[in-house]
Amino acid sequence: MEWETVIGLEVHAQLATRSKIFSGAATAYGAEPNSQACLVDLGYPGVLPVLNEGVVKMAVAFGLATDSTIAPRSVFARKNYFYPDLPKGYQISQYELPIVHDGRIELQFEGGVRKTIGITRAHLEEDAGKSLHEDFQGQSGIDLNRAGTPLLEIVSEPDLRSAREAVAYMKAIHQLVRYLGICDGNMQEGSFRCDANVSVRPVGRHKFGTRAEIKNLNSFRFVERAILFEVERQIDILESGGSVVQETRLYDPDRDETRPMRSKEEANDYRYFPDPDLLPLDIDAALVAEVRAGLPELPWRKRDRFIDEYGLSEYDAVVLSTSRAVADYFESVAAGLDDKKLAANWVMGDLAGALNKAGLDIVDSPLGPSTLLGLLRRIEDQTISGKIAKEVFEAMWSGEGDADAVIESRGLRQIKDTGSVEAVIREVIAANPQQLEQYRSGKDKLFGFFVGQVMKATGGKANPALVNELLKKLLAG
């Protein structure tokens, strides 16, 4: 039987505020356990939550960027359950009335294939703390630094049909929240993670199959692996006559498999009800307009503009609009050049390679856009060749100064005068009579040999076009 996979993702994006969603405690990652938890985060008797207004603007920005409806009134609700890392015994979230709903995002695949994925809702909530089960013999430690950290939970429609689509969706959301500056996207630190609802059904059937929810996937690879495993598992069950159980499962990356969580944790009745400590969240048109005015250019708009304005290929445009920092870098370089493709190639090629090797983000690049531009200008004005430019780039990277300084000190200026190049060519021809004879008797392939010899003799500095032109003439005799 042919099976169709149906996936919906719930992405949890930690909002990039300095303080928590309902208290003034800091949200910085990696502090000493429990050093960033105030009385509100600790759920002390008598304390009350006060909404951090920054998170509201961030959620609205996300809603606007995904063509969603911004709810004029949304309501915070309590999700009640007992767990040691949940100090109040309830999590403040949004339930019946989320701040953002009914949106969409377009995914882009190779070959120009596009697909729109529905966003059911995005709601604000606080994160719980962390239970530490190691290092405490027979007991558990609780770190409440994370308790009260603001999250935007983004729920997709079950529109995704493969692990590949799921990953593409997660990447698109990841890119978007970073563009908007509302989430740092750091997956190792748990700032961006997701749960996947996965089911399968026979192709052609309308009704959804029974789904399993796979919790806490914190890398693109895990999302893909977990879904692939889960789909196969469910198909195996169905094809051998069994039925899929609706349950919560965990992905174990070491064994590359999903396993059911203890069923007890699912038996929770969360008893949601509106939080009486917080007023309904009213959002007026003025706030929406303010946020809209401050929205950056969104990745897909940038991509399209790069194609139109700079004549880039779709592939290049996609890569260069991956993040705002890369796009901004590219645009500052491209602005100073006639050949935009040259800028694209260098940013995506040598620069990206060097940054990757050094483990650096583009914002921390030792070579800023104007420095790279200085180098590329020298290619464009033919002071150096593209090949020599690579040497100059490496020298610049290791701190030898800007392009002109390196070209000067290393004597890399391109040889462009006909006389000098012609003299070298004559020497090369004289030194290789055998090859000359073969060439003249029809072995055209040897042209490349002569080019190589000329370049070798000039230390790569000869202008390639000039070399080609003169060599053709002189070899012809």
Binding site: G43, Y44, P45, G46, V47, L48, R78, K88, R271, F273
Partner: protein, 485 residues
């Protein structure tokens, strides 16, 4: 000294008739001597009070004293007080020393008020007789075999017995007004949002409101002014100016339109109690007010509505008491579940458990719509009834409690009968309105209260109505005799 009103004390301290230290020492001695029987205090902060009194005396001598400098009061043990045990009347918090002050505590201290101690209360403010306290019942100084009402029973008894001129309280369904009535004193519950709830241990967040228990409306006006106002730490506190309540006292009642709720007067109100209310209405008429009957058609839904909404909220609010970070923790738990079950099972008393279970039930899947949602709707109906009534009248006057103080143990085993004690007060909380109880007579030597309810944020008016009444009558000036004289 102990017979004086709070306003009288403030005046005497300024006139240097006696010092704050003398007064505080005198009251501490009374508490020492009389409270063994009354049990109105859980904690007495004598040393700190004397030190604060000395500081106040220096301020008073220096002429730079805040308005209530050196005036002693007590705080209901539901308000967090930094460095002082804050029990909420529960074993769960018997070991809890709050690391911070409630906004109410902070503001009153800023106004110069001195805390003598923390008063006994029904556990987590759940009760109408002060019999659910882990620290034992409080007795009514008018008759030691009877209850003082609840949940602010300790505050009411202490003020009635003149152990302290005033005390703070909280009112979720009548917990200030009912004990004020049963103890023969004045008590006001302001509009929801008037006073910050920050640092007040939550029972039912959408209903809880702090207020005061005093001898007179004037005293209440002075304290309410000091404790009210917007607090950025409480999102439900309202950002509206606080009038100078005391300055508005004494205004004429000429033309005041008083509404009397026929549903309250007609149904099962004790004849003597009704007579006391009628007599009070005569006083108002003599002062130029007009009295008309009004109807609150849905007011009969108050008690069932309340006993869905309040337990629902409390079941969630009290989840934080899990033995993990503070409060009672069961000995040697086997595992997490055992820690939870025994800490909560041993830390909470029966009434608290009953309400947590009720609340958990009404919020659970499959029952939410039938109970919680329906209760929210009837709450809207009740609020709408009051709004409609206040289109034609300025204040609503009637009984505070169906009976005077009852005997200890009389209703403790019958929760439903106990819950009906709040039949006249609960609707006011559901509608979020300000309500006040003032003494209006005695039945068999036991005080009876008159409830005055106003429009939202119209505390000034109900205080003035009570004040004018107290200028014409002396019920409020009567105090228990015997040992308490």
């Amino acid at each position: 000294m102990h017979g004086r009103t709070l306003a009288g004390i403030a005046r005497a301290l300024r006139a240097r008739e006696f010092s704050s230290e003398e007064l505080v020492s005198h009251l501490l001695a009374r508490i020492e001597r009389l409270d063994g029987e009354l049990n109105s205090f859980v904690t007495v902060t004598g040393e700190a009070a004397v030190a604060a009194a000395r500081a106040a005396d220096r301020q008073l001598a220096g002429g730079s004293a805040p308005p209530l400098a050196g005036v002693p009061i007590a705080h209901k043990d539901i308000f967090c007080t930094a460095g002082v045990k804050t029990t909420c009347g529960s074993r769960m918090l018997d070991n809890f020393i709050s690391p911070y002050d409630a906004t109410v505590v902070e503001r009153l201290r800023d106004a110069g008020v001195i805390m003598l101690g923390k008063t006994n209360m029904d556990e987590f403010a759940m009760g109408s007789s002060n019999e659910t306290s882990y620290y034992g019942p409080v007795r009514n100084p008018w008759d030691l075999t009877r209850v003082p009402g609840g949940s602010s029973g300790g505050s009411a008894a202490a003020v009635a017995a003149r152990l302290v001129p005033a005390a703070t309280g909280t009112d979720t369904g009548g917990s200030i007004r009912q004990p004020a009535a049963l103890a023969g004193i004045t008590g006001i519950k302001p509009t929801y949002g008037r006073v910050s709830r920050y640092g007040m241990i939550a029972f039912a967040s959408s209903l809880d409101q702090a207020g005061v228990l005093t001898q007179t409306a004037e005293d209440a006006a002075l304290l309410l002014k000091a404790m009210s106002g917007h607090d950025p730490r409480d999102s439900t506190s309202v950002n509206a100016p606080v009038p100078d309540y005391a300055a508005g006292l004494g205004e004429s009642l000429e033309g005041l339109k008083i509404g009397v709720v026929e549903e309250f007067m007609d149904q099962g109100l004790d004849a003597d109690n009704a007579a006391a209310i009628e007599a009070a209405l005569k006083v108002f008429e003599a002062l130029g007010a007009t009295v008309q009957r009004i109807s609150l058609p849905n007011i009969g839904l108050s008690v069932p509505t309340y006993y869905v909404v309040a337990p629902a909220e409390c079941s969630s609010n009290l989840s934080r008491f899990d033995g993990v970070r503070f409060g009672y923790r069961a000995k040697a738990p086997r595992d997490l579940e055992d820690l939870y079950k025994r800490s909560r099972g041993e830390g909470f008393g029966a009434e608290v458990k009953r309400r947590i279970m009720t609340g958990t039930y009404v919020l659970s899947a499959g029952y939410y719509d039938a109970y919680y949602l329906k209760a929210q709707r009837s709450r809207q109906l009740i609020a709408a009834d009051f709004r409609r009534a206040f289109e034609t009248v300025d204040v609503i006057v009637g009984p505070t409690s169906p009976t005077p103080a009852f005997e200890l143990g009389a209703k403790v085993d019958d929760p439903v009968t106990m819950y009906l004690n709040d039949i006249y007060t609960i609707g006011v909380n559901l509608a979020g309105l300000p309500g006040l109880s003032a003494p209006c007579g005695f039945i068999n030597g036991l005080p009876v209260g008159l409830q005055i309810v106003g429009r939202a944020f119209d505390e000034g008016r109900i205080l003035n109505v009570a004040h004018r009444y107290q200028q014409e009558t002396d019920w409020h000036a009567r105090a228990p005799g015997g040992a308490f004289a």
